[in-house]
Symmetry: C2
Subunit: 436 residues, 2 copies
Amino acid sequence: MIPKPSLDPERLLQELEQLATYSDTPKPAVTRVVFSPPDLEARAYLTRLCREAGLSLRADGLGNLFARWEGTAPELPAVATGSHYDAVPYAGMYDGTVGVLGGLEAIRSLQRAGFQPKRSIELILFTAEEPTRFGIGCLGSRGLAGALVPDSLRELTDSEGRSLEELRQIAGYTADLDEVLLPEGFYHSFVELHIEQGPTLEQEQVPIGIVTAIAAPASLRVTLEGRGGHAGTVLMPERRDALCAAAEIILGVEAFAKNSGSINTVATTGLCEVYPNAVNSVPSQVRLEIDVRDVDPQRRDGVIRSIIQGVEQVGTRRGIDYNVQIVNLDPPAKSGTEVLRALASACGEAGVKFKPMVSRAYHDTLFMARVCPTAMIFIPCRNGVSHRPDEYASPEDIARGTYILALALAHLSYAEDKPSEEKPGAPKDSPPIFID
Amino acid sequence: MIPKPSLDPERLLQELEQLATYSDTPKPAVTRVVFSPPDLEARAYLTRLCREAGLSLRADGLGNLFARWEGTAPELPAVATGSHYDAVPYAGMYDGTVGVLGGLEAIRSLQRAGFQPKRSIELILFTAEEPTRFGIGCLGSRGLAGALVPDSLRELTDSEGRSLEELRQIAGYTADLDEVLLPEGFYHSFVELHIEQGPTLEQEQVPIGIVTAIAAPASLRVTLEGRGGHAGTVLMPERRDALCAAAEIILGVEAFAKNSGSINTVATTGLCEVYPNAVNSVPSQVRLEIDVRDVDPQRRDGVIRSIIQGVEQVGTRRGIDYNVQIVNLDPPAKSGTEVLRALASACGEAGVKFKPMVSRAYHDTLFMARVCPTAMIFIPCRNGVSHRPDEYASPEDIARGTYILALALAHLSYAEDKPSEEKPGAPKDSPPIFID
């Protein structure tokens, strides 16, 4: 029933190269921040490609784009794939884009092979998976899944004080934010193709990873306010140095993760900003941003509690005012059994070895898992490097992942109406999101 | 022989207010970085005031300005006063400027009183006492004293890569840098009026401080390079996090100063810059700038050695590449006995209580002490606050300090030819200055 997908790997690579030219930094570095000129150029380019493939397009108020290949049973929940095409400053050209253009090529390869889908197949181009502009990752997929409610979306601003509300309207996305949330049962299943962003597949020489779970991410923003002064005249016992307090917290974050009892716990103080940041001034203010992840959300939350207690202790002992804000505290996602089965079957048909694995990076799939059963396909990337100009995935690995994706989408398109008795992988209700 | 100086405190305050308007930030914050438009406006304004007072002006290649009131014995080494008028970002309106306009008003008050100097009296307006633009403090006075040799000056650049050479020429200071160094015996003595930048005079309710010594400042630049990566995918044992290494060093800097055995040791990590500084990236690079001071240069150098050893240990243990650069390592300055005597006499004549004190902040006087005997007059500033928009010195304290300065300049103008058998307060040879 399902023909062999007829892939055009050369075209796919050319399109990846073309997409990489929409950037605010010179080649090979890619910088494409949501609603910046390169992001808008990328949207125009991708929209054109989807139209050329005969897909029908819709956009929601966040700028998420949906390109639909109508099936013979358009009334059934659709099968979806997709990823993101924004890029952090000085990133590479494969993160996200492989799932966007690979998703499109998977559809085209089925079209070329004469395949006719039963359930419609949709390609989703998510807005702003990276937290660069608005400080929170997976903006588009959070919106689709209701993990960010419209009122929270309306309060988001970038570091220059420009609101998401303003920027989306300028970009041409004027639809009501209340209509971003997907209706229940809208999708049958979702599969995302992505580079691993870690070294495992390359090291173990396995060409495909099938993601069974995504680790639960969380992030904190800590602000510290002590007392500034002249570095020469304020004696040591009189000091309330915000950077010294921050240093203790940074080391605490590291120690709590190391001592969690599991290799799967990671915690990072990725951002540290000091005021006034002058060699001859005692630092009066510091802002830290901290990332904590674990496959076990209870263990992760234990680390977060330790960090918060640590901030309180350091602040109290040093006479530093502190504020801790939980920016996000997301549940982990377990992949859907039937989607995993479709991916395993596809690998079997293609004669490709795969490795079941956990994703410690998070992806739009984490939020799509609140909407429908999901899974992810990982392909190797050189030295596990990502978010850097030298990020690289080989043409063979990209083509292989796209081929597996195409087969899986075809299978899922003909899956039973109720694909499984299972619930979506993660609880619908999300913890409150605090935005300042 | 010496008449009572005839002060015009109102005019002095108006001029301080006017000078504060030359700023890159709105009132009350003053930002005046060397060779920026506000700095050039301030130079034009101060030059005009000096001309109006009948002083003859010269400028050197660094933009140091010298305004001379010719004495009856112009062949004798002159008596000098002066300070700086640049301001760090978001500073106040009294740091430095009180000694610049107070110095000018001291001269005018003697002119009004009909005083005729024997030795000429010079007002020096130093270029760039603040390290804001070129990363090293007291640029002008270092040049005058030979603590920065012309070849080092020619290598200085700002953070945008613009060279001092280019910027001084654009500002109109085209004289040869080889002629900045003052000839031996050029000045008989130097007195600087300045706000205390500390709380002691205010707390002890003493209106005048006479500075007997200036603590020896030093600064280090530490660069750390570890390995970046995705905050979700790089496991804790694999990390080489440059910010965690920096945190240990920051706490070490604090501990070494606290444990030096003397209250007079201070050490500060004032600047911390992180790359890439994103919440979801492991920090790969950190730059720290560290300030260390003590009245005892041996003890200070012991702290510096401990810091350097600490960097080496932390870097080795964590697999972080490190580089430590000594930006400056200046000797302390002891005030000249005869200058101190002139200041004490002036306070006696004026019936003003004074306190002998050590300056832990450093000033252009630190370098003038290599040229001739020096001392400083401190006046109280509110809450010891400086380098902030709310920096404040009262009109009464400013007038009192200016009056004492005028009396002291008049006394020194008639001092014996060889003012004392003493040598200038600090050794002439300075340690090498490394500039990257």
